[in-house]
Symmetry: C2
Subunit: 104 residues, 2 copies
Amino acid sequence: MIGDKWTVMIVLTLVDQPRRFNEIKRINGGISQQMLSRTLSALERDGMLTRTVNPTIPPQVEYALTHLGQSLAGPINELGAWARSHILEIERNRLAFDEAKAKV
Amino acid sequence: MIGDKWTVMIVLTLVDQPRRFNEIKRINGGISQQMLSRTLSALERDGMLTRTVNPTIPPQVEYALTHLGQSLAGPINELGAWARSHILEIERNRLAFDEAKAKV
């Protein structure tokens, strides 16, 4: 569950505030409607977030991290910080790897 | 890259010692030959691990984390520690969620 890319992205998306389905989808441009629904239900089932239907017209569905969900944000932010501080090194490595491969 | 489940699993597999392809595959029972090859090449291209062909007969290929690869182990271990300390709570939540759903 936690090694899954969209789980990581959705927890980060909700860490600051509750959001509605389409907001989450827009923020995570690459995710499909189906994948977002599946990941949100899995996170709800795990107790990582709550799903609230607000009685507006039309009704609005809002997703918010629970305490358990918030507690995952720490390790995920560490992973994000690692990525940000190493991305240039990784990009240099990829360039060097591709150049070496092109010479073979 | 780092949000990918198999990247996380393979870095953890190599964190203690270099290993050969089949060892890595056996330790990560669920991974296919193709997915393991693809993930190992991506990690090699990123500079996260080295691939060494030992001149034995038959030649043996060994994979080892680089300094960059080792540095990812910290945040990944944090994620693993989070999972281990919350797995029971998540399983209770899943049980409660399924029971509630069965009543609807």
